[in-house]
Each structure stands twice: as structure tokens, then as C-alpha cells.
């Protein structure tokens, strides 16, 4: 009786192990095929974010995006886990201060988890040229709305932000409209931008010609 039980257990265990080995090896094969593509997607995702933050109008095709990226973005390096890029935007008038500057990719705290952001700072090392949210875990419908373009676009060209106003009002030069019901997330985004500005200062980046 007891022997039967042990035999049974043994048999069950072997069945489970064999099935897991088969399934996992199939997955490993599939993964090895898709791996390169997944990595490529991740880099394209990042390249797009850098371009959007720097205020470029994105072309439709992947190859064109890569071309635009290669011609206008320079990868400078990684410091303190912050990725640094410089950009020259030929789509904008060259007199405009926003037409060149730096882009940083970095993470910081949000309300629910880390927010990863691409922040473009213009060549005066003060003015925000644009932001792009790369990843966030805020509440859908509330804080999750920081990915909406009206919210991101209002940072463009702003220098100092001293006041948060409600969503319905039109923000002035030093104001930002917060998302209704998600003032805290808005504050976290502002905080993140300040962290980014401090990075710019601490890295001692030179002005681009």
C-alpha cells in the first residue's frame, strides 16, 4: 500500500517534470527567434522617445525614424544611470533656442511606481524643450493621463514653473495645468523635471554651437 503511494508520487513527478522540460525547451527556441526583434523594438522605442522629447515631428516609417535619429541625435553616454543625448533639430528655425540642446533619459518616483522620462533641455540649459513619458504605472484615467499630449506639450518652452493650476484653465508662462484628480502625479512629474535639471547642472554639459 505504502509502496504504491510512493510509486504513484514518483510517476506523477516524472510526468510533470517531462512536460515542463518539453514546454520550456520549446519556449527557449521561440525566444531565441524573437529575441533580436524584441531588443530592436526596445531600442526603437527609446529612439522615438528621444526624438519626441526633442520636439521632432516623427515620420511614419521605421527606416525614416532611424535615419532622422542618426542624423540629428548624438549619444553622449551614461552617467549615474542617466542616459545623455544631444540633439540638433533642423525642423525648427535655427535662431530658436529650442532648436538644439540635450535629452536625458532617467527614472524617478511616481505615485505608484517609477516613471521613466525623456527630458529635453534647450541649449541655454534652462528651458524645457519637451518631455516624453517612457514608462509609468499611474492609475488609468487619472495619473495615467500624463501620457496625453496636451499634458506633455504644455511643458514645451517653459523655464520656471511656479504654479499648478486646474485642468480647465489656460496656463500662463510659469504655470502648468494639472490633471483633474491627479494633482499628486502632476507634482511627481514636476519633481522629476527638477531632478533632470539638477542632473544637467551636475554633469557640467557644455553649450552646443
Amino acid at each position: 500500500m505504502k509502496k504504491d503511494k510512493i510509486n504513484d508520487l514518483f510517476k506523477n513527478l516524472i510526468v510533470v517534470i517531462i512536460i515542463s522540460i518539453i514546454l520550456i525547451s520549446i519556449l527557449a527556441i521561440i525566444y531565441s527567434f524573437t529575441q533580436d526583434r524584441i531588443k530592436e523594438n526596445e531600442t526603437i522605442f527609446k529612439k522615438k522617445a528621444v526624438l519626441i522629447a526633442a520636439g521632432f515631428a516623427l515620420p511614419a516609417k521605421y527606416s525614416q525614424i532611424i535615419e532622422l535619429y542618426n542624423s540629428s541625435i548624438k549619444e553622449i553616454g551614461v552617467q549615474n544611470k542617466v542616459e545623455i543625448f544631444s540633439y540638433i533639430n533642423k525642423q525648427i528655425d535655427q535662431e530658436n533656442v529650442l532648436s538644439k540642446g540635450y535629452v536625458l533619459i532617467f527614472s524617478g518616483p511616481g505615485l505608484w511606481g517609477e516613471i521613466t522620462m525623456a527630458l529635453a533641455i534647450a541649449n541655454d540649459l534652462e528651458t524645457i524643450a519637451g518631455i516624453e513619458i517612457i514608462s509609468q504605472n499611474e492609475t488609468p484615467g487619472l495619473g495615467g493621463r500624463i501620457v496625453e499630449s496636451w499634458f506633455k506639450n504644455q511643458f514645451k518652452g517653459k523655464n520656471k514653473i511656479s504654479k499648478i493650476i486646474s485642468e480647465k484653465e489656460i496656463p500662463a508662462e510659469d504655470e502648468i495645468a494639472s490633471i483633474t484628480g491627479a494633482t499628486n502625479t502632476t507634482k511627481y512629474v514636476l519633481n522629476l523635471i527638477n531632478i533632470g535639471k539638477q542632473y544637467i547642472k551636475s554633469f557640467n554639459l557644455p553649450k552646443l554651437d
Binding site: 510526468v15 510533470v16 512536460i19 519556449l27 526583434r37 524584441i38 523594438n41 522605442f45 483633474t180
Partner: protein, 202 residues
């Protein structure tokens, strides 16, 4: 055989709809119904998982010792879900990012588990596959319907296209969790209180 399959089709989509009648499996998918696009992708992933899990488990059903049945079911289901996840990451990276953890949660979707357990393990592969497919379809129809209403009222758009003008004041509650609860309750109420009694009378 054909007749049997037809009645299965009707049963799984209408009279025994997984969501409306059995109220199963709303956990993982209800969360993405604030956007039609994400819902469609999620539903395709779910149909794929439920039909193929049912199919593959039905093939090996005679080899499975009854004691470790659950573990093997979960293993096979996770296998198909990982394939869905890898495929999304490789070919639809942006949607994969938006869906976040919810793709993985197809594993614990009660419909997948329920159909494989109730049908796949007792029946031959082809009917199991069809059963999974029709259950998944019945499920998807309801969810896509919910998603259309939620996105329309909550963001003024369907599938990302703005339909209601810029004067439209979005119903934020529709995008948030309570909107989904109320909407699903309303749909179940209408179907259970009005349509089902009619169908049953026939």
C-alpha cells in the same frame, strides 16, 4: 457532428455566454476595456490561449495523472500565454507595453481554466479546440462592446479616432474602474432580465 458544433456555437456565444450568464473570467480583461484597441488585442490573445490550451491538453489528456491535473493545466496554459507575450513584444511592442501585466494574467483567467477543465479534458482535440474558440468569441464580443462604450464616453473616441467633437466633456469615470463595474452590471441586467427569458421561451 456539424449539428453538434452548431449548437455549441450558439450555446457558448449566446445562451451560456461566459460573461453574461456564468460571469466568469472578467478579472484580467475588464481592466483593459478602457481602450478598444487594447481590448481587441487582449481578446485575440485570450481566444488563442483558450482554444490551443484546450486542444493541447485534450491531446495529452489520457497521459495526465489525475492528482497533478491542475499543475499540468497551469503549465500548458502558461506556455501558450508566454508565446502570446513574446509575439506581442516582438510584433506589437507598443500595445504590449500598454497591456503590461495583464497579458500574463490570461493564465489565471477563469475561462481558460474553466473550459480546459470542463471540456478539454473530457473530449477529443477538435471539439475541444472549437469549444475554446467559441467560448473565447462569446467572451470577446461582450468585452469589445463594453470597450466601445467606455472609450466613446470616456475619451470621445473609438479605436483612437476622435468621434465626438472637442466640446465633448469626457466622462472620466468611464475610463476608471467604477465605470467598468457599472457598465457590466447594466449589460448583465439587460441581458438577464430581458433577452434571455425571451430566448428561453422560444
Amino acid at each position: 457532428m456539424v449539428k453538434k458544433n452548431n449548437s455549441m456555437f450558439k450555446e457558448n456565444i449566446i445562451t451560456n455566454n461566459p460573461i453574461l450568464v456564468q460571469v466568469l473570467g472578467i478579472c484580467s480583461t475588464l481592466a483593459v476595456t478602457n481602450s478598444v484597441k487594447n481590448t481587441i488585442v487582449m481578446c485575440i490573445g485570450l481566444i488563442f490561449t483558450v482554444s490551443l490550451s484546450s486542444f493541447s491538453l485534450s491531446i495529452i489528456r489520457k497521459l495526465i495523472p489525475s492528482k497533478v491535473r491542475m499543475i499540468i493545466e497551469v503549465l500548458v496554459i502558461s506556455f501558450w500565454v508566454i508565446i502570446v507575450d513574446l509575439a506581442l513584444k516582438a510584433y506589437l511592442p507598443e500595445i504590449s507595453k500598454q497591456l503590461g501585466p495583464y497579458v500574463g494574467l490570461i493564465i489565471t483567467n477563469c475561462i481558460v481554466m474553466g473550459r480546459t477543465e470542463a471540456f478539454g479534458l473530457q473530449n477529443p482535440p477538435i471539439p475541444s479546440f472549437l469549444d475554446g474558440l467559441t467560448s473565447g468569441l462569446g467572451y470577446s464580443i461582450v468585452l469589445i462592446f463594453i470597450a466601445i462604450i467606455r472609450e466613446l464616453l470616456g475619451a470621445g473616441s473609438i479605436y483612437g479616432f476622435k468621434l465626438l467633437g472637442s466640446n465633448w466633456v469626457s466622462w472620466n469615470i468611464m475610463i476608471m474602474a467604477p465605470g467598468a463595474f457599472f457598465l457590466l452590471a447594466l449589460i448583465i441586467w439587460i441581458v438577464k432580465g430581458y433577452f434571455l427569458p425571451k430566448i428561453e421561451k422560444k
